[in-house]
């Protein structure tokens, strides 16, 4: 029942009812009691008065108690309310967000300390002015309009607004990024009487976001650059790739690789990439230019990077801004590209936002530039090595060519000289034909009888002719051997027969001289070789021995010894045969006999040695103690085609 509900009016009602009932009962009862007690009218009147006074007193006490209780409660409530308000205020003051209560008059009815700090305004200013009078500017420097403010949105829509982001510039010029949440304060009839706005300073948050993005771009650039380093084949490809990585992966507004040209002393924008690349076109800067105007030259000279995080305001970039012919990005940095001999270029990066080149990314870019320079240096070294190899190779080939040429030349010379010899020998033969032929005819008596003396003298002429012929044949043999045209007529032969046949040819001369000639050798010394050449050598040796011996004894022998056949011609008592070794050596070395020895013997021995070699054998001469010499001709029993020419 309504009567017993809690609430101020029901309490009052209850109290009133209780009073009515109590007071009514008192009045009724006291009147009856007094009537029964009173003896006369005067005592009744006095008793009435006392009961009325008592009634007033009780009512007064009752009222006093009631009011005191109520007042106490009210005071209690007021205290509780005050305490609660106090707690609320403290809470509101200690949050980090700014809380502002705005009324429909666009003035702040309440603002906590953080709000004042964030907005840069005092409580009075907030309370006394509307927000367009607060003096705040947006990011472009224009004053905030009322429509831009969060409360307006709430007032117009009646609904809360969450997560509104604004970047503003405070009156002291500093800028701050804010996130706003606004909710309506309900009033009567559903229209908001105001709005509560929570303001959060997200500047750090925004800064962190920017940093992350910067890092992401820097890492993308670095990753792209790494790929370029791995793949690029030439320094040009590497630098171009680096530029592209910066422009495309790193998202820089403009990335330029400047190369220092030695001859002109200019830094030329060799590679460029990025949204603003076309505006730069092809530019060049003297490397010796005044550093104040253009930091590029300074970077190249000193090898130190240059970083500007507010390119628009940087005085030193005025020339850069002119070159770009238009708005430039917010940040600009130049990193040196250096080889072991010094900087050869610069990498410049321009970013649209200010403050891009924080410490965290600048070092990364620096090391990228250094890596690029390092890889290029390695490429140069590689190139130099390859060029050196090529040169070496070319040189080697050239040498080989030269050697081939020289060999051919020598071969030709050889052939020419052997042709000469061949011609000479042929030319010698013709007259020799006549000498031998006609003396032969005369000695035969075909042209008439001869006296003994004539016969004797003609005999000497004839023999001389034969000697000359033999020499001419020797010369021809040498020519053939030297010219590589020796042809061996290899056939079966008997070593002993060869020796005996050669001895026969010499016997006449030996008898004439009075020299004993003894030949020894067992029959059946089987050979497969060029018999005529062997015989030629044996003939030479025997002639030599017969010629040289002093006490008149020559012994010739032939034996089989292992795979060889050894012919020995021993001449005893020859004149200073210790000379022979010298003779041999001299001839072999210089092609001439020493002056004190007859030339013919030298030639014959030289030819003999060469013939021996061409048969795959050898010829040696050793002096004998007490005078004389041993000639040893060693020839393989079976010619195996390995004769030296």
């Amino acid at each position: 029942m309504r009567l017993f509900k809690a609430g101020a009016s029901s309490v009052a009602l209850r109290t009133a009812l209780a009073y009515f009932v109590g007071a009514g009962l008192w009045v009724m009862f006291t009147d009856r009691v007094l009537e029964s007690m009173a003896r006369d009218m005067r005592s009744l009147a006095v008793l009435d008065m006392f009961s009325d006074l008592a009634f007033v007193a009780v009512t007064g006490v009752f009222l006093y108690l009631l009011i005191r209780a109520e007042a106490g409660e009210a005071g209690e409530s007021a205290r509780r309310l005050e305490a609660s308000e106090d707690r609320l205020r403290r809470t509101v003051e200690t949050v980090s967000q700014g809380i502002v209560l705005v009324g429909r008059d666009r003035r702040a009815q309440f603002a906590n300390a953080p709000a004042m700090r964030i907005l840069g305004l005092s409580a009075e200013e907030l309370a006394s002015r509307t927000y367009d009078e607060w003096g705040l500017l947006d990011a472009d420097g224009h004053p905030l309009s009322n429509e831009e403010c969060a409360p307006e949105v709430v007032f117009s829509t009646g609904a809360p607004v969450l997560g509104l982001r604004r970047s503003i510039v405070r009156r002291d010029g500093t800028s701050v990024a804010l996130e706003l949440d606004a909710a309506p304060l309900p009033g009567g009839a559903g229209r908001p009487v105001g709005a509560t706005v929570s303001i959060t300073d997200i500047s750090e948050h925004v800064e962190a976001e920017h940093r992350l993005r910067r890092l992401a771009r820097a890492r993308a650039f670095a990753a792209g650059a790494m790929q370029v380093f791995a793949r690029a084949g030439t320094p040009a490809a590497l630098l171009e790739g680096l530029c592209h990585a910066a422009g495309e992966r790193g998202g820089f507004e403009l990335a330029v690789v400047w190369i220092l040209e030695e001859e002109s002393g200019l830094l030329r924008s060799t590679y460029s990439c990025g949204a603003a690349a076309d505006r730069l076109g092809s530019a060049s800067v003297p490397a010796a230019s005044d550093a104040d105007e253009w930091p590029l030259a300074e970077v190249v000279r000193t090898g130190r990077r240059y970083v500007s995080n507010d390119a628009r305001a940087d005085v030193r970039l005025s020339a850069w801004r002119d070159a770009m012919q238009g708005p430039v990005g917010g940040s600009w940095a130049a990193f040196p590209l250096a080889s072991e001999t010094g900087p050869f270029g610069v990498l410049t990066l321009a970013s649209g936002s200010k403050g891009f080149f924080g410490a965290d990314v600048v070092d990364l870019f620096d090391s990228l530039a250094q890596d690029a320079a390092f890889v290029i240096a390695r490429m140069h070294a590689e190139e130099r090595r390859m060029r050196a190899e090529e040169e070496l190779h070319a040189h080697k080939e050239h040498l080989e060519e030269l050697v081939a040429e020289r060999t051919e030349q020598l071969g030709e010379q050889r052939r020419a000289s052997s042709e000469l010899l061949a011609n000479m020998s042929h030319g010698l033969r013709r007259p020799l034909n006549s000498v031998i032929g006609f003396t032969g005819v005369l000695l035969e008596g075909l042209a008439g009888d001869l006296t003994a003396e004539q016969r004797f003298q003609l005999g000497m002429v004839n023999r001389s002719g034969r000697v000359l012929l033999s020499l001419a044949n020797d010369l021809l043999d040498i020519a053939r051997i030297e010219g590589g045209r020796t042809q061996l007529d290899v056939a079966e032969a008997d070593g002993t027969s060869l020796l005996e046949a050669a001895a026969e040819l010499v016997r006449a001369d030996a008898e004439l001289k009075g020299t004993r000639l003894r030949v020894s050798g067992r029959p059946g010394v089987h050979m497969v070789t060029d018999a005529s050449k062997v015989q030629q050598v044996l003939l030479h040796l025997l002639e030599e021995a017969v010629e040289g011996t002093r006490d008149g004894a020559v012994e010739a022998s032939v034996t089989a010894s292992g795979e060889d056949v050894v012919f020995r011609v021993i001449e005893t008592g020859g004149p200073g045969r210790e000379d022979v070794g010298r003779l041999f050596d001299e001839f072999r070395r210089t092609g001439r006999a020493p002056d004190d020895v007859p030339a013919a013997s030298g030639l014959a021995l030289a030819v003999s040695e060469r013939l021996a070699l061409s048969l795959g054998g050898s010829l040696t001469i050793e002096p004998v103690n007490g005078g004389g010499a041993v000639f040893t001709l060693r020839v393989p029993a079976v010619y195996d085609g390995s004769g030296a020419v």
């Binding site: 042929h426 033969r429 013709r430 007259p431 020799l432 034909n433 006549s434 031998i436 032929g437 006609f438 032969g440 005819v441 035969e444 075909l446 042209a447 012929l469 042809q487 007529d489």
Partner: protein
């Protein structure tokens, strides 16, 4: 024995020697100084034997021999006179069509006998 020998030799001294020896032995000797003349004379005068020096001017002995083998043919004895005695030369001489060779310098003692050995078959 009234037989005719054509000698093709360009060295006059050697020619003299050969002629001397052959005429002494009773042969008629015709001489030609070079290969072309040799071929002509062989065809015209029909000798019984040709002594061919292999090194002749104009037409060398090898060519001349080949031509003679065409005309008059293989029956004509042709003997080479050669200074070379190398294996290769001998083969070349035989291949050109010569019946044999006599080495130079000629040995006067044996020369005529060697020549006659090539004429011998002709004797009836």
């Amino acid at each position: 024995m009234g037989r005719r020998i054509l000698v093709a030799e360009d060295d006059p001294q050697n020619m003299y020697l050969v002629r001397f020896l052959l005429e002494k032995a009773g042969y008629e000797v015709l001489s030609a100084g070079d290969g072309e003349v040799a071929v002509e004379m062989a065809r015209t005068h029909k000798p019984d034997l040709v002594l061919m020096d292999m090194l002749l001017p104009r037409l060398d002995g090898y060519e001349a021999t080949r031509m003679l083998r065409d005309d008059p043919g293989p029956d004509l004895p042709i003997v080479a006179l050669t200074a070379y005695s190398m294996k290769g030369d001998r083969e070349a001489i035989l291949e050109a069509g010569c019946d044999g060779y006599i080495a130079k310098p000629i040995d006067p003692e044996r020369f005529v006998a060697e020549v006659e050995s090539y004429l011998g078959e002709e004797e009836a």
